[in-house]
């Protein structure tokens, strides 16, 4: 820690409340001077009780009301005729412990009863009460054995003296019974007297006699001997830390064990220690250095370096207060920083003491010299910060805020309040980034508080703006532009004053480097955007949410952040359209507006905009759009093709979800003009809940856009499983028409084909093929179209295969065979068709056609031979012979007959082979089964049934193919097909290596 950081700006944590002259208040004559020696404060009750011990052995009790600043003497008692060295308030037992003349005195808190002297102990040099950890320390005062413990190197011995009985001076102890102990309150104190340390338990029982020796207090004692020269003492938990001129030593109250903490350097001042109640630590003084140790004597944190050797030390929340010679200082315990120093008396006015009620909040501090008592009062955290903010000392205020936050001295609520207040001050000082940073730290600030900075009042949201003026340190909100203007004027005034030599609180940064209005505005807007953006994630009421989104759009527009605008408009948002409509329209942010309409479900408006945009792009209108050119809007700076396409895409996204038939049909046209795929997507979208009426759609599709129609029909039939004969027929006809057109264009282009056009025609024939394939597949697959109508259409075309399919559908076998066999000469297809028909006479008919094709065509003898070869067995030889034409060449005829006969023999042989192979496999399987059944299994004593887990012993058992073994009973129960492991061999057969027939 650098020493430089130990000084902090002068803060006002403590503020003088009042000053008194105790002699005056006590009404003693100036002739018999009254000097203050010790003080104590009790703020448990109201008013505050102030105890003042004098040099003449008097104890004064004053009552102080800090709010009315009134103080009066309640009582004064004489304790001894020697100075009162210390006053300790024993809250637990409601007594005051006073040290004077080497004796301890007990007295009730209001000094109503006589002072009782603890006469059994004299030569007392220090006394302290124990600070516990909420536990109770069991010192075992009642044991009988005399416990002697070697107290480490120092050689002191722990002596257990009394079992709660009688002390040597003859004071009688009322022995408290266990039943009474329940109702008592007690307090532990440690007393240093001559060469010993005495631990005393003071008990107040409900039943005890007020007139007993100590005014109703019983005393139990325990001693640690051989502790000498004690000047100061504290007791936390089990540890009593004792300071003598040699240094500090820690004693364990329970065991008497002692450990040195550190020794004091030569010629250093007397030891002084102070319990820090808040952290349950102890501050030990060496010279002007405060070393803080915990309850086991380990150091905690860096040393506190005071500006002088303090005479008196007090603790107030997270501060340490030290005083000497009319001065006092306040240090922050954690950082060691000096926060405040103040003078309360002239230097040289004698010894001084400082005290507060640290057991309570301790916010009233008393500091006294011999003849003067000063009361000070803690300034609340808020007031301290308010003071700094008033002085525009933001840095210091933030620093203080951070300190308080880290010390937990401030409520969450207040923290949020101050961050907001700070933010507003910074905002009016044009430090927009810092301002928003603080706004964001405030959990209670409402986004609506910033609305008046964005939109001039009155507006839709004016009534939502909370009238939270915080501490009223900043002017009421005005639009950002005004804030900037006013701020700039203030800075200029500051510069002027500065030149004139007048000191101003104006901002140094700005004075040396004056930003432009535009820069400031941009920074302001950017930062407010940042704030609103974060606010969107908060839980806001709907009207505020609307304000946030709408104003966010406003601000984006002000900076022309088109991407952000579109992003906001197209995502889920709460923008109020009416507020933005004309604004966006006028500034030409049409895309944003369209997105906005769309996100608000105003599809038709959105679509009209997309339509307009698409048209503008295509007509080149965008080029000389004066507004856009002037403002250089990215909307229109895209290239027209992509712009147009983008508009179409956005429009189609909307239409895909729209079930509004009119809307869809209205816009389908222009979208189709731009991109047919998009149009198809719109029509075939599954996103809409209710389908569009099919007929209307079909009628609306531009008859010239065949592809759209076809794809729509295809979708209806294939994806929507439409059974409508009309659609099927329509689809078939449309495909057929396209196929015919394709063929015609191919043959047309073939005629003019030049070499360099070959590629083009390839492409065309490619599309011809695909369209024909589509047609064929559909004709085959669908049974719902009207084949005759289609046949009508293609009757004169070359679509023979298609015709064959249609004839097939119509059951015109002969026609089909004729087309396949004679027209297409596709023997395979023809034979296949015969097989489909499944009657032998079909083959015969085909053979007939081959042999006598008619129309002057030569017999297709090869095809005929092939047919006989393949299907000879299905043909009756006699019939075949009859069919053979008498003028058939012998060689061919014999070949034909031979083929047919061979086919029959071949067929027979094939059958025999299959039969033999099956037999061989059956044999193999039998063999495997025998092998499987003749396996050996070894059963021993431990073998158990896999199902019932009973020992098999000599019982009959069965084994399944999966090697599981069961006893006979279980086998009967499980049956043959399911093993003990639950495997069902019928569903899940077992295959083992070697069983598989490999031949």
């Amino acid at each position: 820690m650098e020493a430089s950081s130990r000084r902090s700006g002068d803060r006002t944590v403590l503020e003088p409340l009042m000053e008194i002259n105790p002699a005056e208040i006590a009404g003693v004559s100036p002739a018999t001077p009254l000097s203050v020696r010790s003080v104590a404060l009790s703020s448990v009750s109201h008013p505050i009780l102030v105890f003042i011990g004098t040099g003449g052995g008097k104890l004064l009790l004053l009552s102080l009301d800090p709010s009315s600043k009134s103080i009066e003497l309640l009582r004064s008692v004489s304790v001894s005729n020697r100075p009162i060295d210390s006053i300790e308030i024993l809250m637990e037992i409601d007594r005051i412990l006073v040290l004077s003349d080497g004796f301890l005195f007990l007295i009730d808190r209001l000094l109503l009863q006589p002072v009782r002297k603890l006469g059994f102990i004299k030569d007392v040099t220090a006394a302290t009460r124990r600070v516990g950890f909420g536990d109770s320390l069991n010192l075992d005062f009642s044991g009988d054995g005399l416990l002697k413990a070697d107290v480490s190197s120092a050689g002191q011995r722990l002596l257990k003296k009394l079992g709660g009985g009688i002390r040597a001076n003859g004071v009688k102890q009322p022995r408290v019974s266990e039943s009474q102990r329940g109702k008592e309150s007690n307090c532990l104190i440690a007393v240093a007297a001559l060469k010993r340390l005495v631990l005393i338990e003071l008990l107040v029982t409900a039943s005890s006699d007020v007139d007993s020796d100590y005014g109703g207090v019983s005393v139990l004692l325990k001693e640690i001997q051989g502790v000498e020269g004690v000047k100061t003492m504290t007791w936390i938990g089990d540890s009593i830390i004792v300071g003598s001129l040699d240094g500090y030593i820690l004693f364990s109250a329970s065991t008497g064990k002692c450990t040195p903490i550190f020794s004091l350097p030569e010629s250093s001042g007397p030891p002084k220690s102070r319990t820090l109640l808040k952290s349950k630590e102890v501050l030990l003084l060496v010279d002007n250095v405060g070393v803080v140790v915990n309850d086991v004597g380990q150091p905690v944190g860096g040393s506190l370096v005071f500006q002088y050797v303090p005479e008196s030390i007090a603790e107030m929340s997270s501060y340490v207060i030290v005083a000497r010679d009319g001065k006092m200082e306040l240090y922050r315990r954690k950082t060691g920083t000096c926060i405040q120093s103040l003078n309360f008396a002239k230097s040289g006015s004698g010894p001084c003491v400082v005290a507060n009620d640290e057991q309570q909040s301790g916010e009233v501090v008393l500091v006294a010299t011999s003849h003067k008592v000063t009361f000070l009062c803690k300034v609340s955290a808020e007031e301290q910060i308010k003071g700094l903010l008033r002085k525009k000392n933001f840095k210091e205020a933030i620093c203080l805020l951070e300190e308080m936050e880290s010390e937990d001295e401030i409520t969450e609520e207040m923290l949020s309040f101050i961050h907001a207040q700070l933010g507003f001050l910074l905002l009016f000082d044009l430090h927009f980034e810092d301002a928003v940073n603080h706004f964001l730290l405030s959990k209670s600030m409402q986004p609506s508080e910033l609305f008046p900075f964005i939109m001039r009042d009155p507006n839709r949201w004016s009534h939502l703006v909370p009238r939270n003026r915080y501490w009223g340190l900043h002017p009421p909100p005005v639009p950002l532009e005004d804030v900037v203007d006013d701020g700039l004027i203030a800075i200029q005034r500051g510069m002027f004053l500065r030149k004139a030599g007048v000191d101003t609180s104006a901002d140094e940064d700005f004075l040396s480097n004056l930003p432009s209005k535009a820069e400031l505005l941009e920074s302001g807007i950017t930062n407010i955007i940042r704030y609103l953006h974060v606010s969107r994630n908060k839980d806001l009421s709907p009207p505020i949410r609307e304000g946030v989104d709408t104003l966010l759009m406003f601000l984006y527009r002000a900076l022309n952040h088109v991407d952000d605008m579109e992003q906001l408009a197209s995502s889920e948002n709460s923008c109020v359209v009416e507020e933005l409509e004309s604004l966006l329209g006028d500034s030409g942010h049409l895309r944003t507006l369209a997105f906005l309409y769309a996100s608000k479900g105003m599809s038709s408006k959105a679509l009209s905009i997309w339509h307009i945009l698409a048209r503008n792009y295509s007509t080149g209108l965008w080029k000389d759009n004066p507004i856009s050119a002037e403002r250089d809007l990215p909307d229109v700076s895209v290239d027209p093709i992509t712009g147009q396409k983008a508009a179409a895409i956005e429009a189609s996204k909307l239409l895909e979800e729209s079930a509004d038939q009119d809307l869809v049909l209205e816009h389908l046209g222009w979208i189709a003009d731009i991109d047919q795929d998009l149009a198809v997507m719109i029509l075939t979208s599954e996103k809409r809940v209710n389908q569009l009426p099919l007929e209307e759609v079909l009628n609306a599709i531009d008859p010239k856009k065949v592809e759209i129609q076809q794809r729509y029909l295809q979708w209806l039939i294939e994806d929507q499983d439409s059974d409508d004969i009309h659609f099927h027929t329509l689809y078939a006809l449309s495909l057929a028409k396209s196929a015919i057109e394709a063929i015609e264009s191919t043959s047309g282009s073939t005629n003019f084909k030049a070499d360099n056009e070959r590629n083009v025609s390839d492409v065309v024939s490619g599309s011809e093929n695909s369209i024909r394939e589509k047609l064929q597949v559909f004709l085959q697959a669908s049974d719902l179209y009207d084949p005759e109508e289609v046949l009508d259409l293609i009757g004169r075309s070359e679509l023979w295969l298609e015709k064959a399919i249609l004839c097939k559908k119509m059951g015109q076998e002969t026609l089909v065979l004729q087309i396949l066999a004679l027209k297409l000469e596709d023997c395979e297809a023809a034979e296949q068709y015969c097989a489909e028909i499944g009657r032998d006479d079909a083959y015969m008919q085909l053979l007939d056609m081959y042999l006598d094709p008619q129309n002057g065509k030569a017999p297709m003898l090869n095809a005929a031979v092939r047919l006989l070869h393949n299907h000879g067995e299905s043909l009756d030889p006699l019939q075949v012979l009859e069919k053979l034409s008498p003028d058939m060449p012998l060689q061919l005829a014999s070949n034909t007959i031979l083929r047919m006969l061979r086919a029959r023999v071949h067929h027979h042989h094939q059958g025999q082979i299959v039969h033999q192979i099956s037999k061989a496999m059956s044999l193999d399987a039998q063999l495997a089964r025998i092998e499987e059944r003749s396996r050996y299994v070894q059963i021993n004593d431990e073998s158990i049934c896999d199902s019932c887990h009973a020992r098999l012993g000599t019982k009959l058992f069965a084994m399944y193919p999966d090697d599981s073994i069961v006893c006979y009973k279980c086998y009967r129960r499980l049956g043959e097909s399911t093993s003990a492991r639950g495997r069902n061999f019928k569903q899940d057969p077992v295959f083992k290596q070697g069983w598989l027939v490999t031949r």
Binding site: M1, A3, F262, P265, V286, V291, Q298, P299
Partner: protein
């Protein structure tokens, strides 16, 4: 970037050494990466903490920067009591500070915890032309006393992170529990160094 450490070990570390040897400067360099030409003399002691990652483990140092002034010597035991590590700093341009460092070593050996890892830092290594304490002499001394030694410079940051890193490494090594096989014991090993033979079964 440091990996999320699965283990964080807290370790008390104390810096000891004569006035003006650069203890505070070393800590300031290590904790904040800064150097101040006119570092004020420490009074009492200052406290810092800083975490060092070694592989996937971390050591959080709780650093006590003590005052070198003789007046505060009596406070030192409080700070080195229970310390896991100590850095004894001397100024290599000042032989007296080296003698003082040796005294600190002695004191630690006599009073401190025997497990405390001790490092000796010869600071101000940037002032080579003013060197008065040779590295060789120190090395021998360090070896004899079981310290590890580095010449450092808070000014140039030479070896500053390294010395803390090295300490962290040693601390983690120290913290590693002795291998304690929980399974069965396969053979009784002779107590002396015959393991090599016992480990091969075929020869």
């Amino acid at each position: 970037m440091a990996m999320p450490s699965n283990k964080i070990k807290n370790a008390k570390l104390v810096l000891l050494g004569d006035v003006g040897t650069g203890k505070s400067s070393l800590v300031l360099r290590f904790v904040k990466g800064q150097f101040i030409e006119f570092q004020e003399s420490t009074i009492g002691a200052a406290f810092f903490s800083q975490t060092v990652s070694v592989n996937d483990e971390s050591v959080k140092f709780e650093i006590w920067d003590t005052a070198g002034q003789e007046r505060y010597h009596s406070l030192a035991p409080m700070y080195y009591r229970g310390a896991a590590a100590a850095i004894i700093v001397y100024d290599m341009t000042n032989p007296a500070s080296f003698s003082r460092a040796k005294k600190w070593v002695q004191e630690l050996q006599a009073q401190g915890n025997p497990n405390t890892i001790m490092a000796l830092a010869g600071n101000k290594a940037d002032m080579l032309e003013a060197r008065k304490v040779t590295a060789e002499a120190t090395k021998t001394y360090a070896q004899e006393n079981g310290l590890f030694f580095m010449e450092t410079s808070a000014k140039t940051a030479l070896n500053v992170n390294d010395i803390f890193y090295e300490i962290a490494k040693r601390l983690l090594l120290q913290a590693q529990p002795a291998p304690n096989p929980s399974g069965m014991i396969l053979m009784d090993r002779p107590a002396d160094g015959t393991e090599t033979r016992a480990s091969s079964c075929c020869s």
